[in-house]
Symmetry: C2
């Protein structure tokens, strides 16, 4: 059954929530009196549609239905999740939370995107709300800080995992939760550095992204310092660097006066740094960088890479047709090249994913490889028939040409969503013993399952393109 989410307040954060739910197959109802709300959410959605599917090697569920409402009661009716993202004024939050609590289903999660208020403040007038604090862009970054009643947080965590997010339930409430306290500390110190003329906004950004920012994106603070402690460990690190706490390395006991001059100084430097790009261009650059880095983290499963891997494992495999469908996915931006289309390399990457999936289907899966058997590719013949662009959906069908003995001879057809045949890949694999790295027969179980496919495909016509050398016409 399709879930429904209600989005109360549709700015950058509310729009990000809407996109995250929609692209994971939820219906989304939006309430926002701003006449610009629909345009703003459409812009966030356009960004999300080009970025979120690119994190995955399967397709996400079909997009849910997006509706806009002028009535809060109608908006929240039947919603399993209601997310409030209105401005940070406590009396406004109280009013909205009261209305939502009265109108929402008894079992609904009511989350507030507040970055500053604690649950004890939000629930002071009896609302059933918890803090569910996300990070921009909400459709890409996994983190959601949950604070509030444990049973509500548990229910929220389950639903967040279903939409590919990483819930972090905080043990005790505190102003600004966790991440924003750390951000605030860096923000204050950075304002001092600019105000005192030590560094410009651009220089501070370089000091972050050329160094510790790269460390933090994959391990955070403590695990990084554990490594810095080396063989002697964390205790050694603490003892070595602990005394620095007493040194005058920060101005943070003091807050810079927030004058118009400081605002102009920062805004002017930011214009000099980034003013050559529009906000939309910056957003797309950010998203492409995030997608590229998060895809890179999938290799080790660290941090966000692990979140994506876990989410993808729960996505359904493609439904088999006459021929098994072995891939159904979207082309990420990072796969395109200077010709503006998917590079030849990634046609083979998709073909390889099809082979891997087919291997799983005949029982030559990860456990089988761990037990010592696998298939190695010995030859590929790729015919590039149509261009593919970033965002294109591609499905692959796999036909078995030969499955006798150690051989697995397959024919993959890569087809675009409009039915265009984009490529064919004729691929020949040999079964090997992983220890000796030499060819060897597959297990009886794998041989039997491969034969079953080979027999089922035996009467199919020989595909156009099979058995040809480069440049030969069929």
């Amino acid at each position: 059954m399709t879930h429904k989410a209600a989005i109360i307040g549709g700015g950058v954060i509310g729009g990000g929530w809407a996109a995250r739910f929609l692209l994971n197959g939820w219906d989304v109802a939006v309430f926002d009196p701003d006449p610009e709300a629909r345009r703003k959410i459409d812009e966030v959605l356009a960004n999300a549609r080009r970025a979120l599917p690119a994190l995955y090697d399967k397709v996400l569920p079909a997009e849910g239905r997006l509706t806009f409402h002028g009535d809060l009661v109608e908006t929240v009716a039947g919603a399993a999740w209601v997310q409030e993202s209105v401005p940070e004024r406590l009396e406004l939050k109280h009013k909205v939370h009261g209305q939502i609590t009265r109108a929402a289903d008894a079992g609904a999660v009511i989350g507030s995107s507040t970055s500053g208020f604690k649950p004890s403040e939000l629930t002071a007038e009896g609302a059933k709300v918890i803090v569910a604090h996300p990070f921009n862009p909400v459709y890409l970054l996994p983190l959601v800080e949950l604070v509030g009643a444990p049973t509500l947080c548990d229910r929220a965590a389950t639903l967040l995992r279903e939409i590919g997010m990483h819930p972090l339930t905080i043990r005790k409430e505190i102003d600004a939760h966790i991440a924003d306290r750390l951000l605030e500390a860096v923000w204050r110190e950075s304002l001092w550095l600019v105000k005192d003329g030590i560094a410009t906004t651009e220089e501070i950004d370089e000091a972050i992204r050329m160094g510790f920012g790269l460390r933090w994106a994959q391990m955070g603070l403590f695990e990084t310092y554990r490594i810095a402690g080396g063989e002697a460990g964390m205790k050694h690190f603490m003892e070595q660097f602990g005394p620095a706490l007493e040194w005058p390395w920060t101005k943070l006991m003091d807050v810079p006066a927030f004058t118009p001059e400081l605002v102009d100084l920062i805004a002017g430097q930011s214009d000099a740094q980034s003013g050559h790009m529009s906000i939309r261009e910056l957003e797309r650059l950010r998203d492409d960088n995030l997608v590229g880095m998060m895809r890179a983290l999938r290799k080790s499963g660290s941090g966000a890479g692990g979140t994506i891997n876990a989410h993808e494992a729960g996505l359904p495999d493609p439904e088999p047709l006459d021929l098994p469908v072995t891939v159904d996915r979207v082309i990420p931006q990072s796969w395109t090249d200077y010709n503006g289309h998917m590079n030849e390399t990634h046609y083979v990457e998709v073909s390889c994913q099809a082979t891997d999936r087919f291997m799983e289907m005949i029982g030559a899966d990860a456990a089988y490889v761990a037990s010592g058997g696998s298939y190695f590719t010995v030859e590929n013949h790729v015919r590039y028939l149509a261009e593919m662009l970033a965002g294109d959906r591609v499905t692959v069908t796999t036909q078995v040409l030969d499955g006798r003995g150690k051989k697995m001879h397959l024919f993959h057809r890569l087809t675009k969503a409009d039915g265009t045949l984009a490529a064919t890949v004729e691929t020949l694999l040999l079964h090997v013993d992983i220890k000796t790295r030499r060819s060897a027969p597959p297990s009886e179980a794998v041989a039997a399952q491969l034969s079953r496919f080979a027999e089922a495909h035996a009467d199919l016509p020989k595909p156009k393109g099979v058995g040809l050398a480069v440049g030969q016409r069929g």
Copy 2:
């Protein structure tokens, strides 16, 4: 001419400097009275050798010579760069800097890795030193903070760029420079959060790496907030969030007492978080994540990706043999798969790099593509002949089989450093008009240069493997 670097103090930081210089072709002389110094530097070097070359699609210069010395004067003789990384005690730094200044060449850069001391403190006794503060792992992270005499910093910046680093010259000296001030702010706040039981070390790491850590790795703080300000810009962001400076979102006006109980609490939580992995395993995980993310950033050229792109552009292209050598590179970890070897996809990626390089050699380069012409691959036939492993060096030679009209028919041989033929790729491309996406003749200049190669290769024997269909033996 080979440069020489002298490394004074060979711990994790000194060893990282040694590796960065060595792998960029510098000779490195090490002075460290610690009898373990050689073992420690060898371990850092082993990590660096598996990670740094994997950032590039060309090979780095041949490794320099590493020597260990018991005498400081001998160590620094003839060095263009002397880097001091001894413990953070000012009287020790003064003593070592004095010795170096007297012994070093007049033109040498003398850098101190100090994270805390200012140039005015370091030079109080007349030493010619500047601050050159790097970040662990020094062989991967580009950032070096330079503080001190402008002419010395300028000379240092030039040399650092040559070894692929990003020098950031700081306008005015300040305790702890820039990055460590920001790190210190987060460290203090994090200690409070653990001490007060709000979060464990692992939860704080998740709050960082699942959210803002990913943002900071590619844009830093201010550009991220510029985006958060949306269409209204940085000034709007400041005005909206500035007042939060007055809120009680931080404990930073106060420093947690550094008691044995706090040390045990942190060290115990860190063991629970990461104790299942050794420091070496954590280092390799970190390095693989960094390489993957930094390679991903090369696509956009943001941050560290831009630094690598600029460095690689200055590396020499392979020397032509009888056949042009079109690729000379090392296989990164991220290209391997569950079979423990380079995945079939990346044989095609290497082949594509060879085609791209050959296109440059005949004048079909980036400027040519921008002017409207390019080649699209229409067919590939890949014979996978030998496994390749992470760290393997591979060279590719390219033979022209046909270069008439719109056709470019090439044969790439991928060869490992030990001479093993790892794969052949027969590839057929057609020249296209980029605007119409249809085949069209190349420019006269490109046609002429392609013909020149085709004629030179016309008398070569037909390579084994050409003109075969999948499964056919030649």
